[in-house]
């Protein structure tokens, strides 16, 4: 399990409009492409490789499925896990159901965690 690598995915994709568009359009092929060409690079350094991390099957599935509930439960950082999916779903939800509809559905899907200790985000 690599919380760091999941967070690295969320971080690198959320901050880049082109990568985010690819993740919206074709999540499965984009996650594969990210694992081949973006994940294995040191951040801020296009030249140097990093072989320290890899996704588990479940992490890969959760990213492909935009499954923010599983990502929360794996300990992905709450801020990264929220902002990337706001970037993807806020507008379409708001148009259909009104302002903050996606954010409220996000909370609702995690309601079984109310009153419990959340999964640790420490890496």
């Amino acid at each position: 399990m690599s919380k760091y690598y999941v967070n690295k995915f969320l971080f690198t994709v959320d901050r880049d409009t082109h990568l985010l568009a690819r993740y919206i359009e074709s999540p499965r092929s984009f996650v594969s492409a990210w694992e081949q060409s973006i994940g294995p690079k040191l951040l801020g350094n296009d030249v140097e490789a990093s072989s320290a991390h890899a996704f588990t099957d479940e992490e890969r599935r959760a990213l492909v499925d935009h499954d923010f509930v599983s990502l929360f439960e794996m300990g992905a950082h709450f801020f990264l896990n929220l902002t990337i999916f706001i970037g993807i779903y806020d507008e379409p939800y708001a148009q259909k159901y009104g302002p903050l509809a996606f954010q409220r559905e996000f909370a609702q899907k995690l309601r079984h965690w109310r009153g419990k200790d959340y999964p640790s985000i420490a890496t």
Binding site: R15, F79, L82, L100, W113
Partner: protein, 286 residues
């Protein structure tokens, strides 16, 4: 020597700009009241006529990431760009460029190191909404140089509440030892109870209104002993998974004294309680 003429601490609500600049028919009902409160808070800074702003905030995984995450960092540059693409996208915050004061950054950094706070530094720092928001609320004309300081409220393990409080002495001494006749304001932002990406986010109030009321009272009275006796990383987590931003309030209360605040205001919004505090050092009135 430089004079600390004001210490300010507030929440940084990234939607303030959008909420108060969109067409009136699209504004939330509280927008006019929110704007009035922010403008009154702004006046508590303007009345002190500062020359340089020491801005204390926390990067939200915009430039700084888990491959290399400092606990405390100072910016040392003559210029800082601000606002990242995903902040423009999500919050509608404009891009900014801030003038830096490299000389003061250098002095503060040396002073903090000499006082055993081993700050990381950055000569190329892009500023995020933890510092952009207070510029929008407190100094929208953006006419003063800044010295940015980042704390880690975000990527555990975090420094202890006691360590945040202890840092206040070093920051205050560094400011007051700066060999200059400049008037300095120290401005920090954080959160009261806050939940992001969890089951208590975006409710009608913040996730823990009782904590919010208690926190305001602690800051109003300057009761650092009660804070340090009550607040732990675990207790903050119980009040909401992003409540660790309160540690920046602990730091700012310390920079100011710790003493009771001279100006206190707050506004209960959906999702979060907004709060604004100003301390005016007694010397500044002389």
């Amino acid at each position: 020597m430089a004079r600390l003429v004001a210490t300010l601490a507030s929440t940084h609500h990234p939607f303030y700009f959008k909420a108060t600049t969109s067409a009136p028919e699209h504004q939330m009902p509280q927008a006019p009241e929110w704007k009035r409160k922010v403008e009154a808070y702004r006046e508590t800074l303007a009345s002190t006529a500062p020359d340089i702003l020491v801005m204390i905030g926390s990067d939200h995984f915009h430039q700084i990431f888990l491959d290399n995450y400092p606990q405390f960092l100072i910016g040392k540059a003559a210029r800082y760009d601000a606002t990242f693409y995903n902040e423009e996208r999500e919050f509608g915050i404009p891009k900014y460029a801030f003038e830096g004061d490299e000389d003061m950054s250098r002095f503060l950094h040396q002073s903090l190191l000499a006082q055993d706070f081993d700050f990381a530094f950055s000569n190329e720092l892009k500023i995020d909404h933890s510092i952009v928001c207070p510029i929008i609320t407190l100094r929208p004309q953006n006419d003063l140089p800044i010295v940015p300081i980042y704390t880690n409220i975000f990527a555990p393990p975090l420094p202890s509440p006691r360590r945040f409080f202890d840092l206040r002495r070093a920051i205050r001494k560094a400011i007051e030892d700066y060999p200059s006749d400049k008037r300095i304001a120290a401005i920090g932002t954080g959160h009261l109870s806050l939940e992001l990406g969890g089951p208590r986010q975006f409710m009608e109030t913040g996730p823990d209104p009782a904590f919010d009321q208690q926190a305001i009272e602690w800051l109003r009275t300057g009761d650092i002993e009660a804070i340090l006796a009550s607040v732990t990383h675990q207790s903050l987590e119980c009040s909401g998974n992003a409540t660790h931003g309160f540690l920046n309030f602990v730091l700012m209360l310390g920079v100011a004294g710790p003493v009771g605040a001279d100006y206190v205001d707050y506004l209960d919004l959906f999702h979060t309680m907004e709060a604004y505090f100003t301390w005016h050092p007694k010397e500044a009135a002389q």
